[in-house]
Amino acid sequence: MPTPSLFSILDRVLRGDYVRQEQLATGRIEVPTSRLIALGLLLGGLYGFGVGSYALFRGADQAWLQALTAALKVPLLFLLTLLVTFPSLYVFAALQRLPLDLRNLLRLLLVAILVHLTILASLAPVFAFFAASTKSYAFMLLLNVACFAVGGMLGLGVLRRATIAMFAPPLPPTLPPTAPSNAIPDSPGSSDGGEAVANVATTARQRLQASEQARTVLRVWCLVYGIVGAQMGWLLRPFLGAPDLPFTLFRPREDSVFIGVMRAIGQLLGR
């Protein structure tokens, strides 16, 4: 089977083809990991360049270098965040008996990240337009945070849908299409039918319980992923390149992303 093109893979990612129930039920997500990573690098680079364009428009120190490093740092940010958070997610997912093994769980996360990155890349022209027409560094910093937050929510929504699909009842119904009338549990002479219904009910209850637990694990993980991602972004800064500071690959470690964002809000409000 020929390898699908990058564009057709991206199209399928956005349409949610890889997280449909029939796909997940096989326990395999049929998409080459290398292609997902290549797409991630491209889209992340695109958004990164859009963010770095602020340095170009504002005439910051070594602006082209700043724009290029931002284009490299956005994919790096996602890769490092995945590296920090994926191993523990895998252990918890396996403990929850999620039907995906290590490789396919990684693919699922890459699909979700790709949705995030595609949204970011689609916002790159908007960001560049604001960069060209805005002087305030604090505003651009907060705009960057907002873009990441919007993309992240939609990306993580893919994971949520995938978890629901993974624990949904199997597609071919386990019950006969037309249940005979004597299959009512307490009707006389229906012990077999009653048992079958009881078994199906027990399986459904177990599935629901497993689904709830898996969703809780995923919710917690999403929260951790968000915090780690935000702080990782802070560690990898500068992305925008402040016009009044000299170019540097990384800034010294200080404070945290949350203090940084609060400070930017304060500056924007003139405090």
């Binding site: 590296l83 920090v84 958070t85 191993p87 523990s88 895998y90 252990v91 918890f92 396996a94 403990l95 008996r97 093994d101 780690v228 702080q231 990782m232 802070w234 560690l235 470690r253 945290s256």
Partner: protein, 212 residues
């Protein structure tokens, strides 16, 4: 269930639990991995090596301290026949703890890069070990579900184990510190005053200081 030992341990039923030797290797290697991450955060390679030895030691020594009491409690409760199965469950839980700690090693590196405050880091490390324990509990519950179904007194024995393990584990960790190393302190395997302080007394002193 087929698959690697890791997959069988995490996903499998009680019968799928890897061999005793494999469980011990998983627990030792996994906890050594987080040890390297903890000790390596100081930038001092000797501390990385020390911590890679000390974290597995922490699990092993705590277990060794608790096993005799666990055996006695099981005997008193009339559960001696199930002791081997119970120990197997505890070993599987240790292996899961090791695996989870290894999975959290990148998180330790990330925390070290993000947080400067040593108290904050200690709290985060404690939290990560708590997460590891949570994962271990999951596997332990699978083993004990069968035992408790056989005899409800297993629940009591398990609770006793957990309380003693946590209680002793905190002091063993205190004696074996530093795991990260503190700026200004010499690089040592354990602190000179290791056996002179008690973790709970120090904790109580800290709490009392808050109210003064």
């Amino acid at each position: 269930m087929n698959g690697s030992a890791v997959e069988r341990l995490l996903r499998g039923d009680v019968d799928d639990t890897p061999s005793i030797r494999t469980c011990m290797v998983l627990a030792a290697v996994g906890s050594a991995a987080i040890g390297v991450a903890l000790g390596g955060s100081s930038g001092e390679w000797r501390l990385a090596v020390f911590a890679a030895v000390k974290v597995p030691l922490l699990l092993a020594v705590t277990t060794l301290f608790c096993v005799p009491s666990f055996w006695v409690v099981n005997s008193v409760l009339g559960l001696r026949d199930d002791f081997a199965a119970a120990m197997r469950g505890l070993l599987a839980a240790q292996a899961t703890l090791g695996l989870m700690l290894a999975a959290l090693a990148p998180m330790v590196v990330f925390c070290s890069a993000s947080v400067r405050d040593p108290y904050g880091l200690t709290l985060l490390d404690a939290g990560l070990f708590g997460v590891g324990t949570l994962a271990a509990q999951r596997v332990l519950a699978r083993h004990y579900q069968l035992l408790i179904a056989r005899d409800a007194r297993h629940r009591l024995a398990l609770r006793g184990w957990l309380v003693l393990y946590a209680f002793a584990g905190v002091q063993v960790a205190w004696v074996l510190r530093p795991f990260r190393g503190t700026e200004g302190f010499a690089v040592q395997f354990v602190r000179p005053e290791a056996f002179e302080q008690n973790a709970y007394v120090v904790l109580a002193e800290h709490v009392m200081r808050l109210f003064r």
